[in-house]
Amino acid sequence: MKRNHFLIMLLGLCGLFHPHCLQAKLYNVADFGATGNGQTIDSHAINEAIQKASSEGGGTVYIPAGEYLCYSIRLASHIHLYLEQGATLTAAFPTPTEGYDEAEPNDANLYQDFGHSHWKNSLIWGIGLDNVTISGPGSIYGKGLTREESRRKGVGNKAISLKECRNVTLKDLSMKRCGHFALLATGVDNLTLHNIKVDTNRDGFDIDCCKNVRISQCSLNTPWDDAIVLKASYALGYFKDTENVTISDCFVSGYDRESMLDCSWKLDEPQAPDHGFRTGRIKIGTESSGGFKNIAITNCIFEHCRGLALESVDGGKLEDIVISNITMRHIVNAGIFLRLGSRMRSPEGTPVGSMRRIRISHINAYDVDSRYSSIISGVPDGIIEDVTFNDINLYYQGGYSEEDSRREIPEEEKAYPEPWMFGTIPAKGFYIRHARNISFNHINFHYEKPDGRPLFVTDDAQNIRFNDIRSDGKEETINPIL
C-alpha cells in the first residue's frame, strides 16, 4: 500500500515539474540511423523507428529537418508520423536491387485499374491499422513515384495508401508530385484530412469506400487528374459505400504542375494527358460499384479546371448529396455534370445504379466553356431524379450556333463518363435526358458571346420545373426543346 502511494506521488510530481513526463514517447528517426542527407536510403531506419514505437504500444515517430530518401514506409497502429518543419520524405527511384514493396495480390483487380487495386506499392502504406496520424509541417515529395501504368517489380505509384484502417488523421502537410495518388484511402472509417497542400501530377485525394470523412481547409492543384474524388470501387473484394463525407473550405485547381506550391501559378500547359484540358476538380465517381450517401460539399473554390462532376456508372446509388457555396472560374468543360451510366465495371449481375435527392445551390461559375454547357444525363434504364438547383449563376463563353442545337446526342451508356462523350451539347444552359423531378429556381445564365442554342433541351425528361430563369438579365419563359 505504501509503495502505491509512493508511485502516485512520483507521477504527480512528474506532472507538476516535468510537463512531458506523461506524454507519448518520441522516437527520433535519427536515433535509428536515418541521415536526412538526401543521398542515403532512410526508409530502413524510419521503419525501424515505427516498429520500435509500435512494439512499445505506440508513440510519435519524429522526423527532424532534412531530406529523407525513401522506399516504402510501413505504418503501424497507434503511430504518429511527425514531419518537422524542413523535413521532406522524398520517394527514391527504384534500382535493379531496391524499390517499393511489391503490389499485393488482389482477386478483385478486374473491376478497377491497377492503381486502385493495390496498396503496398507506395511510399507510405498501412493496412488494417487503428489510430494513425501523419502530420507536418514537413513535406512529402514523390519524385521517384510513377503516375503511369508500369507493373515492374519495385515501382511505387502512390504517396500515401491506406486500406481498411480506422481513425486516421492527416494534417498540415505539403505534398508534391505524388504519382497516381497523393492519397488513396480505401475502406477507411473516421478519416480526417485537414490543412494539406497537394500539388501533383495525377489524382489528389481518392476517398474510396470510406465512412465518416472530414476534408477541410485543403488546397489541391492537380492539372492532370481529379483533385478530390470520392469513389466506391470493388477493390476491397466487397461492396462498400462512401458515406457521411464533408468537403469544406477547399481550393482545387489545374495550374501547371508544381506551380501552386512554388506560388508561380503558371498556365503554360493547357492540355492534360486525357486530352480534355486541365482537370483539377472535385468529383464523385468514376469507380462506383458501391454507392455514395450523405455527402456535403460546401465553401469550395475551383479555378482553371473542369467543373463539378457527379457520376455513378458501375451500379452504385448516389443519394442525399448537398452541394452549396461553390465559386468556380475558368472552367474548361461542363460547369455541372451529372451522369448516371451503365458502364458496369462491377461483378456480374450488379444492377444499374440510381441518382436521387441531390441539392445544388449557391453556385457561381465564371468563364465556363460552352461546348458542353451543363449536363444531367441518365440512361434509358437509369433515371436521375429529385434534383434541385437553387441560386445558380453560370457565366458561359457562348459562341455556338442554332445549327448546334440540332445535333443528335449519342447515349454512350457504357462510355467512360466525361462531358466529351456527347460532343457539342444542343443546349446553351442545361441538357437534360432520362431524368424526372428536376427543379431550377433562380438560375441566371450569362453569355460572353451570342449563343444560338436554346437554354434548355430535354429528352425523356418528366416534371422539369422552372422558376425565375434569366439569360443575360432578361427573364425567360422556358418551354424546353424536346
Binding site: 527511384f93 527504384p94 534500382t95 535493379p96 519524385k143 521517384g144 510513377t146 503516375r147 503511369e148 501504368e149 508500369s150 507493373r151 515492374r152 501530377n201 492532370w224 503554360d268 500547359e269 492540355q271 492534360a272 494527358p273 486525357d274 486530352h275 480534355g276 462510355a415 467512360y416 466529351w420 462523350m421
Partner: protein
C-alpha cells in the same frame, strides 16, 4: 538531252550512295508516333546530326539502333568515339501525331502532345480524346530533360532554352557525354512485356544486337 539525263542519273546515284553510307541519326516509329533526334554541342559546335553539317561530326559519335522484339520500337546505343572534353549529347523527342514516319519533328504534329517526365522516363500522350495513344522514351543517363518549343529547332541549345510556352511542345535535353561513354535510348510502344527502366537498357541493347 542525253548528257543532261546522264548528269541527273549520276547526281541521284551519288546522293543515294551518300545517304546509304550515312548512319541513322533520327528515329521514328513506323506509325509516326514519336521522333527522336540527336545533336551535338561542343565548344564550337551546336548542331543537329541530321542537318547538312552532320559530316562535321563524323567519327565523333557512333549511333546504333536496333528494332525491339517485344514491341514496336528501337533500342539505340550512342557512344562517344572522338569527343572533345565538355561535349554534350543533345536530343529531342516529339512530333508524335505525325500521320506516318518522317525525319523531322514538325511543329504541327506536336500540338497537344503531353509529356510526363519521370527521371529518365518520358511518356507522351497523343492522339485525340477517347482515342489516346501512348509512346514511351527511356534514356539510361539522367540529365536535365525539359519541355521546349518545337518551333525553335534552329540548334540544340536554342531548343533547350526555348521554354515551355508553346503550342508545339517537345522534350529536349543536353546530356554530358564523355569519350568512350555509352548512353542508351529506348523509343517504344509500351505493352505488358515491354516496360523498360533506365538500368535495363544496356542489356536490352545486347539482347537485340545478337
Amino acid at each position: 538531252m542525253k548528257p543532261l539525263r546522264l548528269t541527273a542519273t549520276l547526281f541521284i546515284l551519288f546522293f543515294v550512295c551518300r545517304l546509304s553510307a550515312q548512319k541513322e541519326t533520327v528515329f521514328c516509329l513506323p506509325d509516326g508516333s514519336g521522333i527522336l533526334r540527336f545533336g551535338l554541342v561542343t565548344a564550337n559546335q551546336d548542331i543537329w546530326l541530321d542537318t547538312d553539317k552532320r559530316l562535321a561530326t563524323d567519327n565523333l559519335l557512333s549511333i546504333e539502333g536496333r528494332h525491339l522484339d517485344e514491341t514496336e520500337g528501337y533500342i539505340i546505343e550512342v557512344s562517344g568515339t572522338a569527343l572533345p572534353e565538355g561535349a554534350m549529347l543533345a536530343w529531342t523527342f516529339g512530333g508524335c501525331d505525325s500521320p506516318g514516319p518522317v525525319h523531322d519533328i514538325h511543329p504541327e504534329y506536336c500540338k497537344d502532345n503531353v509529356f510526363s517526365i519521370e527521371g529518365t522516363s518520358i511518356t507522351v500522350y497523343h492522339g485525340k480524346v477517347m482515342r489516346l495513344r501512348i509512346t514511351q522514351l527511356v534514356t539510361s543517363k539522367p540529365s536535365d530533360i525539359r519541355l521546349a518549343d518545337g518551333h525553335r529547332q534552329e540548334s540544340p541549345q536554342i531548343l533547350f532554352l526555348s521554354g515551355k510556352k508553346t503550342d508545339a511542345p517537345v522534350v529536349a535535353s543536353l546530356c554530358p557525354i564523355a569519350q568512350g561513354e555509352k548512353i542508351y535510348f529506348c523509343l517504344y510502344k509500351p505493352n505488358g512485356k515491354a516496360d523498360y527502366a533506365d538500368y535495363m537498357l544496356p542489356d536490352l541493347f545486347k539482347k537485340e544486337n545478337k
